[in-house]
């Protein structure tokens, strides 16, 4: 009890001294310092609130050779590259879509990422910021690559972040300017069949430990893209001729200004 009293006494003394000291400081300084503190906190709060939504990324994914890099450049500046090789690193860009650059008014920038076909893992790094995913399929050489494409697509569709956040997926059939390219209906049916088979083999595990964290579709029924939680649509395009209207519509739909 004695000690407690002593401590309370000391505390009171300190408080007295502090108040005395504060009173001694000219009031202007105090007001200024308080003002500065207040302003910084307000500023930080505002910055937090008005920060642009993180979801402004569109990811271009697909197998090697499906035409992602050509499409990327088409979106970026409407140009056709004189040639492309297998990409080693992702192509990233934050820009206004070329076709929209002539429109007036406030156009939101799109952060477009072209992920190389051989590194499935890189794709998942961008998922937290993704607003939409374009899965590019080679409509010309579709059948030899059907299995690999289906597996890649299956991995994407069963990733928890894709399902939980309902990331919309657009299956883009590229190279449709060629005569022997398959139609999107054919491709859709083939992919659905292949994914159905993948679902059946329980351990459909792809490269390096990425486990299917979610079961696709309705068990017992043949798989269809309409059964997915997130929206899956299919469209056609041609990087070579520049016919990318459907893809651009998809992008505009999902990057809201």
């Amino acid at each position: 009890m004695e000690e407690m009293k002593q401590w309370t006494n000391e505390l009171q003394q300190w408080i007295h001294q502090a108040l005395h000291w504060i009173h001694q400081i000219p009031s202007v300084q105090i007001y200024v310092s308080i003002g500065v503190l207040f302003l910084t906190t307000v500023f930080l709060l505002l910055a937090c609130l008005f920060r642009r939504t993180k979801y402004n990324t569109i990811v271009l994914a697909g197998l090697s050779g499906s035409g992602k890099t050509v499409l990327f450049h088409r979106f970026q500046d409407g140009s056709l590259p004189q040639g492309t090789n297998t990409s080693l690193d992702p192509n990233e860009g934050n820009f206004v879509l070329y076709s929209e650059s002539t429109e007036k008014g406030k156009i939101k920038h799109v952060h477009l990422v072209d992920v190389p076909g051989h590194s499935h893992l890189r794709l998942y790094e961008y998922l937290p910021q993704t607003a939409g995913l374009i899965f590019v399929v080679d409509a010309l050489e579709f059948l030899p690559n059907c299995h690999a494409a289906a597996e890649y697509l299956y991995d994407i569709l069963t990733k928890t972040s894709v399902v939980k956040r309902n990331i919309p997926v657009l299956i883009l059939c590229n190279k449709t300017d060629k005569v022997t390219a398959h139609t999107k209906e054919f491709i859709r049916k083939q992919l659905e069949k292949a994914i159905d088979r993948l679902r059946a083999s329980r351990n459909a595990i792809s490269a390096a430990d990425i486990s299917n964290e979610f079961t696709l579709g309705i068990v017992g029924e043949a798989f269809a893209f309409s059964q997915c939680h997130n929206k899956v649509t299919i469209a056609e395009a041609s990087g070579l001729t520049g016919d990318i209207v459907q893809a651009e519509q998809f992008i505009r739909e999902h990057i809201r200004p």
Binding site: T86, S87, S119, L198, N203, D209, S211
Partner: protein
């Protein structure tokens, strides 16, 4: 004459190609280069050889890591151009001055390139002339050793064309690329020709090689003759025609009537079958929980190590550099960090040459890059190495065997897996584990006992088959494994088994007749999966084993599509604590993914390779 010179970005966009050299490249050498060399972390190699029907190119490349550009030169392999490396570095220098990330067309570079090429060619002409002056003197003495005048003629021709050809390619190369001059060149051999002094020696060496052309041909003919004799003498795979062997009599003790001590339990059949089917879930299906807590500890440890190693002064300057962000990374800066990393890898049982090549590749990808501020060189190197390791260890294609089995089932034929490897690595044991795992997934399995050499091999498999209650196809000992396998597959097709697991005898990679027998087995039966079984305890020998196996399979294959090793089964993983380097060596040298990991001696001890944990262990 160069075939083509390309400049492209790491994102794949081609910025410039030489328009004068208008020849279109046959095949797709650049794509193949990227896929099998640059992405496989072999960018430290000096050059890459591309072979396609009708063409043989050599590719050389250089990186500009800061701007993210790649410069590739393609030329025909028979022409040995010395100026390519010079040309590439000059082109790199000039182009980086006019490079602008926004531009995609660089037509003005054509003129600059023409100039540079002339310069480079002129320089090499000078070098050649100075060499040729010294040549005739040294070769007069050599000529006295040679026999026919014919050779002198070919020698002269050889010297004119090949500045410095590579060493002998050996029998294989000789058969493949026989041209009148020395058609063989190792990529490595070309590189050694740069210093003028070395060139001179190599020239003398090559002239000797040229002279031996005719001799070699004769020797080869006799060798081939001898080889066919030895093969026919190998008794291992041939059925004995002499009849049953008589028992050896050591002394006068009465002969034992029966020397067969096999367990009479086989005949009793059902009674003795221990029901094993449920030893629990195979570890293949269990997910591994990788703890991420230990990461923070690891980083601290690494930092402590690094601080301890660097000298006081070195530490201070590196701290200063890390804050200021030094302009460009030079090779000399990277060397100490890379050396430390290489030593660490080698203590983890990675083969020495693999560690060396990996470090070179990482150096090639970091040289000239701008170092981000607040990063130390060692951490940049560490992250680059980690990325490289993940890239190498991640399987390039799907390793989902179940899916492939289903596909084969739909086509109505059995899925055939052949287990190959050296002696004593655990083929038979792991075959049983794989069978157990497949059974758990409701797939019908059949075993084929094609190890007709080792005593007890057939009985071992018979025991496993009895315990797992699956059919086994066996023909006893001293039979030709290729024929046994063929009949086993036919039997499987007849009784509707989904998978056939073929066990083969262990063999050393240097044993020519055994490798030939293995090649025959694979060619005859065309299995769906050739699984190389290797133990995790192996050290530098892993490189030798895998490369020789692959080489023999390629050389001795008779069909147009050569079957190489498709996958690796890593065994005895539980015996190594953290010395997991064998996995890396094997994957790097063969390019085949690790499909299974055997981690114990019971049926459930089979799991998948966890790439992240292996990379973490390797770099700890």
């Amino acid at each position: 004459m160069l075939e083509q010179l390309l400049i492209f970005t790491r994102g794949g966009l081609i910025l410039w190609t030489c328009k004068e050299l208008g020849n279109a490249l046959k095949g797709s050498p650049i794509d193949t280069l990227i896929r099998s060399c640059l992405l496989e972390e072999r960018s430290g190699d000096a050059s890459y050889n591309y072979d396609a029907p009708g063409v043989a190119y050599t590719l050389k490349w250089t990186f500009h890591n800061d701007l993210g550009l790649i410069f590739v030169a393609v030329y025909q392999r028979i022409l040995n151009l010395l100026y390519v490396d010079d040309l590439l570095s000059m082109v790199k220098r000039e182009f980086s001055q006019i490079y602008d990330p926004k531009r995609t067309a660089y037509n003005d570079f054509d003129d600059i390139f023409r100039q540079l090429r002339k310069e480079a060619e002129a320089r090499t002409e000078e070098m050649k002339k100075s060499k040729q002056a010294a040549k005739p003197v040294s070769n007069l003495s050599r000529k006295q050793g040679q026999a026919a005048a014919q050779k002198a003629g070919s020698e002269g021709g050889v010297k004119q064309k090949n500045g410095a050809s590579g060493k002998d390619g050996g029998d294989g190369d000789y058969k493949k690329g026989r041209k009148s001059e020395n058609g063989y060149s190792n990529g490595i051999g070309i590189e050694e020709s740069h210093a003028a002094g070395v060139v001179k020696n190599k020239e003398n060496g090559s002239s000797e090689n040229g002279a031996f052309d005719v001799n070699k041909l004769q020797k080869l003919r006799s060798k081939v003759g001898k080889k066919s004799d030895t093969v026919s003498k190998v008794p291992k795979a041939e059925p004995k025609k002499k009849g049953p062997k008589k028992n050896r009599v050591w002394d006068e003790s009465p002969q034992e009537s029966k020397l067969d001590f096999t367990d009479p339990a086989d005949e009793r059949g059902d009674e003795n079958i221990a029901v094993i089917a449920d030893q629990g879930e195979s570890m293949m299906d269990k997910e591994e929980i990788v703890s991420s807590e230990s990461e923070a500890e690891d980083d601290e440890e690494i930092e402590k190590d690094n601080k301890g190693n660097a000298k006081k002064k070195g530490w201070f300057s590196s701290m200063f550099q890390s804050i200021a962000g030094k302009a460009n990374l030079e090779k000399s800066d990277l060397e100490p960090a890379l050396k430390a990393l290489k030593d660490r890898l080698m203590t983890k049982n990675v083969a020495e040459e693999i560690a060396e090549k990996l470090c070179e590749s990482v150096a090639a990808s970091l040289e000239g890059k701008k170092q981000a501020s607040f990063t130390r060189i060692s951490s940049t190197v560490q992250t680059a190495m980690e990325e490289a390791l993940v890239r190498i260890l991640t399987p390039r294609r799907s390793i989902d065997i179940l899916r492939d089995v289903h596909v084969a089932k739909e086509q109505g034929k059995p899925y055939v897996v052949v287990f190959v490897g050296v002696n004593g690595v655990g083929k038979s044991t792991n075959l049983a584990k794989v069978a157990y795992w497949l059974l758990q997934h409701k797939i019908s399995v059949m075993m084929a006992a094609c190890d007709t050499f080792r005593s007890g091999a057939v009985e071992q498999l018979r025991t496993h088959a009895r315990r797992l209650q699956i059919p086994i196809f066996e023909k006893g000992y001293e039979k030709d494994p290729a024929i046994v396998a063929k009949e086993a597959i036919q039997e499987a097709a007849r009784n509707g088994s989904d998978v056939v697991l073929v066990d083969t005898a262990g063999r050393m990679q240097d044993n020519e007749p055994l490798m030939r027998a293995l090649s025959k087995l694979i060619n005859l039966n065309n299995p769906d999966l050739v699984l190389f079984v290797g133990e995790a305890l192996v050290g530098n020998d892993a490189v030798d084993q895998l490369s020789k196996f692959n080489q023999k399979l390629a050389d001795l294959s008779t069909s147009p599509t050569t079957r190489l090793i498709d996958g690796i089964l890593l065994t005895k993983f539980d015996t190594i604590d953290d010395k997991v380097g064998a996995a890396l060596s094997m994957v790097y040298i063969s390019g085949a993914p690790v499909m299974f990991v055997g981690c114990g001696q019971s049926y459930t001890d089979l799991k998948k390779l966890n790439v992240k944990s292996i990379v973490k262990t390797l770099l700890k």
